[in-house]
Symmetry: C2
Subunit: 180 residues, 2 copies
């Protein structure tokens, strides 16, 4: 891992990107790393867009604001359009496969996140957990066990098995893209 | 309201301080203000301590880190001991009434938050919502309706009525302290 990884998770309200970011930060802690997780609320959020950020580092993180994201996850068209060019060229963009990819110099991975949550897990609300499995496979940041443990800490206990499967499926669909 | 209000919510893991902070930030947005909400994860969090921060402002917030908290909420002894002197003198400390108040020059309000959640709402997990009702009565930051709307957005729908009551009770117990 680089000394510091910066992630921006973006989507529309209700897609669970804040919870996804909190889970990722918890998983980093589980791996004895440091993390800062934040979200800003302003007029843009009133339009239904939601953005959460995570910085994971080996050492304490002094500046909690993302400077150059290494990964952008976009689960909605408006969030992809808004943020896809607000990155440096090394930032990997992970976009839901339902989205139209704008012109960009960045590497874009189109991943069937929402489709998998809906048709394989049969619960679209697990899209954020499918996304975590996919992100962490494409750009490994935390151990799989740490991630699973953090997921189970934050989802309701009656949905534990469903969310474990969502994480596995996210890993699997990303893996199949890598091997293509 | 001042141009900017800074809050630190601290407790032990599982007391819901992160969710409390997210709800408060959402309520600020509902009132057309700006907010930044963040949490840092590091070795101190492994000890079971949990700290979340919120900054609410009339204008966009450039620097997302708290500099001088206006309010410190402490729901556990270790978080109170750790943070109560890490404030300026104008910071109001809102401590659960079960805690022993350390020596401090700050104004301290001892509020029966956990007791109210346990004995009046009959669900200790609502302590964070009781706390929000109390904080926002002692230090008004967001409208009551905006706060209630944000609570209902984040709690499970089957627990909506219970959490509405928790918010009301938090307001009531704080009000009774003001009038003493």
């Amino acid at each position: 891992m680089k000394e510091k990884m910066e992630l921006r998770l973006a989507g529309s309200g209700g897609q669970g990107v804040i919870l996804g970011a909190i889970i990722l930060a918890e998983a980093a802690l589980e791996n004895d790393n440091y993390a800062v997780q934040s979200q800003s609320y302003g007029p843009e959020a009133r339009g239904g867009m939601c953005k959460a950020e995570v910085i994971i580092g080996k050492d304490e993180i002094d500046f909690p604001k993302i400077e150059n994201p290494d990964v952008l996850l976009a689960l909605s068209q408006s969030s992809l359009d808004k943020y896809c060019n607000d990155t440096n060229e090394n930032c990997m963009i992970i976009a839901d496969s339902s989205l139209e990819i704008p012109n960009t110099k960045n590497k874009v991975m189109s991943v069937p996140i929402i489709e998998t949550a809906r048709n394989v897990i049969h619960n679209q609300q697990t899209a954020n957990i499918v996304a975590l499995g996919a992100i962490n496979t494409l750009v490994p940041m935390v151990g799989y066990e740490a991630l699973e443990k953090a997921v189970l800490k934050y989802v309701p206990s009656h949905a534990a098995e469903q969310n474990k499967k969502a994480l596995q499926e996210g890993q699997r669909i990303a893996q199949s893209l890598i091997l293509q």
